[in-house]
């Protein structure tokens, strides 16, 4: 009964359809604008995940899990952290200290390396944070407690 109520609310569905792509786009903007102004991986990851979670709340968890299965969020979590670490290790092998981005670009004075380093690192952070947020969400809505009390996604308000 409750399951169908949220899904049948046309206003929510229409607005969500319009908003979710914008939220995702804004997440990407914050991500890639991070090295010029305020922004960066943490914020972008949270915004991006929030967009997808809104989608899951309106259209059901299953709809989101078709594109973003639980296992994929786990892999992305790990991959994001590894991407961050890989930049550090790459700098190490190119002759600098761990995370010394200047070493990524041995030819020029290192400005380009700093730029490259921070972009890749923030990308790693963004991926890891977004995946973690979604995994936390899945973790809570999949728990038995949630289903017993009808708190799971798309099942309406708590009693």
């Amino acid at each position: 009964m409750r399951r169908s109520r949220v899904r049948e609310m046309p206003i929510l569905r229409v607005i969500a359809r319009a908003l979710v792509p914008l939220i995702l786009l804004f997440g990407l903007y914050v991500q890639f604008h991070g090295d010029f102004g305020p922004g960066g991986g943490f914020q972008a990851g949270v915004i991006f995940a929030a967009g997808l979670i809104v989608y899951a709340l309106i259209f059901g968890r299953e709809a989101l899990q078709r594109v973003m299965p639980t296992i994929l969020t786990e892999r992305l979590m790990a991959a994001g952290v590894l991407l961050y670490g890989a930049v550090g290790v790459a700098a190490m092998f190119l002759g600098g200290e761990f995370l010394n981005y200047s070493a990524l670009d041995p030819l020029t004075t290192g400005h380009y390396g700093q730029h490259l380093g921070i972009i890749v690192i923030e990308l790693g952070v963004g991926i890891a944070v977004a995946a973690t947020m979604m995994r936390v969400y899945y973790g809570f809505v999949n728990s038995r407690l949630a289903s017993e009390n009808g708190w799971a996604a798309g099942e309406g308000d708590a009693p």
Partner: protein
């Protein structure tokens, strides 16, 4: 171009940090076990190499990201923390190699890789706290190690394990926030986060309320994580409901790293003249240590569960360490530091014995253990030797640490405290005696007779006996343990790390 050996300092932390997400990607339980074992072994090798390099007063400084110290994060290794790095990695290696089936029994095969990831993160956090020379970086690593140890404790299987983990989390978070506030006040006073810079710029005096408040927040915050006597409430539950392997690891490392942190804060940042000369912290710390020795040992006597008994004994042993700290002289501090190593070895070994007993007997109530000594002689012999070491019988590590502690306390002129150390050992005789009595001299009750009871498997016994053997070897030759501890104590008293 710097070679790989120049990066050892940072690799010590980065290896387990990156191995954890790699475990999540690998997923296969057997492969992740071997992989994380290899990583921990590599960390151990690096730690030994670092200790050899800095022995005799050397210092290695590593600038993360190429930013020099006052601005960037500095990793700094000297005898003081190299000693602890070896201890943490060695204990991680032993605990990890314990029991080839891997993982705590309640963690299902499909999730075992996550257990290894969390374990590696815990190792990473502990190593990070030890190695970093940046105050806020310490907070971050402190929280990494704490968060992962809450998870590890909650895996105990019993429903109370989850409750204990929650309590541990609440206490640990409060401690962490106190620590963070303390660091903030130090930053406000000095404008830097580098530990050595803070120490140089800070001129603490009793009139400087900011500095006194910072010291208070830092000491209370760390004392919660260290389980100093009135703040120990979380420890007995956490250690007795956690998987015994986890208890072995945490008892041997987590409180030890906190102790190192406390010593660094007191001696390096604020300096012994201020803390013990002006502020007279020992007036509080010494009685609390002695209370811990007596009340926790007294509580241990009345426990019927072996794990709980050992946990209370841990609180008492923290008392010995902080007593060594409060003497603030070279002998006493070295005694505290050597007890840090010695207690890690014996308590780690004892908790591994508990794991062996749990595996075979299924319970570690003293009633359930009645008469087990005759059926599992090798396992129980390890328990007896570890117990003797807790008492401080000559020939074991416990004797070595108590010897130096008593000398340090006497040097300070606290004759009564020295007598109390000896008296508290009598309490240890009682609680160890109860276990031995149950194991060897009590007939098993009717419903506890187990006809098929055998020795624990070799894969469990070998790591256990390595620690127990270490408790004897380092009780007979003290060059390595006391030698290094004395050097570290000398460095700390000069205020250098």
């Amino acid at each position: 171009m710097p070679g790989l050996t120049d990066h050892f300092v940072v690799l010590e932390v980065v290896l387990p940090l990156l191995a954890a997400p790699a475990c999540v990607l690998i997923r296969n339980p057997r492969v992740t076990r071997l992989f994380s074992l290899g990583i921990v072994a590599a960390c151990f090798a690096i730690a030994v190499a670092l200790l050899i390099q800095v022995r005799g007063g050397g210092v290695i400084s590593y600038h993360l990201g190429g930013w020099p110290p006052p601005l960037g994060i500095e990793y700094r290794v000297s005898t003081v923390n190299a000693y602890l790095l070896v201890l943490v990695t060695a204990m991680a290696l032993v605990v990890m190699s314990f029991d080839s089936r891997g993982g705590p029994p309640r963690v299902s095969e499909s999730r075992r890789h996550l257990y290894y990831a969390v374990f590696l993160l815990c190792v990473c956090g502990l190593l990070g706290i030890t190695i970093t020379g940046d105050a806020f970086n310490i907070f971050v690593f402190l929280e990494i190690s704490s968060l992962s140890s809450y998870i590890l404790v909650s895996l105990g299987g019993h429903r109370r394990a989850v409750m204990s983990a929650f309590h541990y989390l609440v206490m640990g978070t409060i401690g962490g926030v106190f620590f963070m506030l303390g660091v903030g006040l130090l930053y406000q006073a000095t404008g830097t986060l580098n530990l050595r810079e803070i120490a140089e710029r800070l001129e603490p005096s009793l009139d400087d309320r900011g500095a006194v408040l910072a010291l208070a927040l830092l000491v209370v915050g760390i004392s919660i994580k260290l389980a100093v006597f009135p703040l120990h409430h979380w420890l007995p539950n956490a250690y007795s409901f956690a998987p015994p392997k986890v208890s072995a690891f945490l008892a041997a490392t987590a409180t030890k790293v906190s102790f190192y942190l406390l010593a660094t804060i007191l001696f390096v940042i604020f300096g012994a003249p201020f803390v013990f000369g002006e502020l007279r912290l020992h007036v509080v710390l010494m009685p609390l240590s002695i209370l811990a020795m007596f009340l926790a040992s007294g509580a241990a006597i009345f426990q019927t569960d072996l794990r709980r008994l050992l946990a209370y004994s841990s609180v008492a042993q923290v008392g010995y360490m902080t007593l060594g700290l409060s003497t603030a002289n070279a002998t006493g501090l070295a005694g505290g530091l050597v007890h840090l190593f010695n207690h890690a070895v014996m308590k780690g070994g004892l908790f591994l014995v508990v794991a062996c007993l749990l595996h075979r007997v299924g319970a570690v109530h003293l009633d359930a253990l009645a008469g087990v000594g005759r059926r599992m002689p090798v396992t129980c012999a390890a328990l007896v030797i570890g117990g003797l070491s807790l008492i401080g019988v000559p020939g074991t590590v416990g004797f070595v640490s108590k010897w130096y502690l008593v000398s340090g306390v006497l040097e300070r002129g606290w004759t009564a405290a020295a007598v109390l150390i000896l008296l508290s050992s009598l309490l240890a005789v009682v609680y160890v005696g109860r276990v031995v009595e149950a194991l060897y001299f009590r007939q098993p009750a009717e419903d506890h007779v187990r006809p098929g009871l055998r020795e624990a498997p070799f894969a469990m016994l070998a790591p256990t006996w390595i620690l127990i053997a270490a408790a004897i070897v380092f009780g007979l030759t003290t060059n390595w343990t006391y030698g290094v501890a004395a050097e570290a104590a000398g460095l700390l008293l000069q205020g250098g790390i």
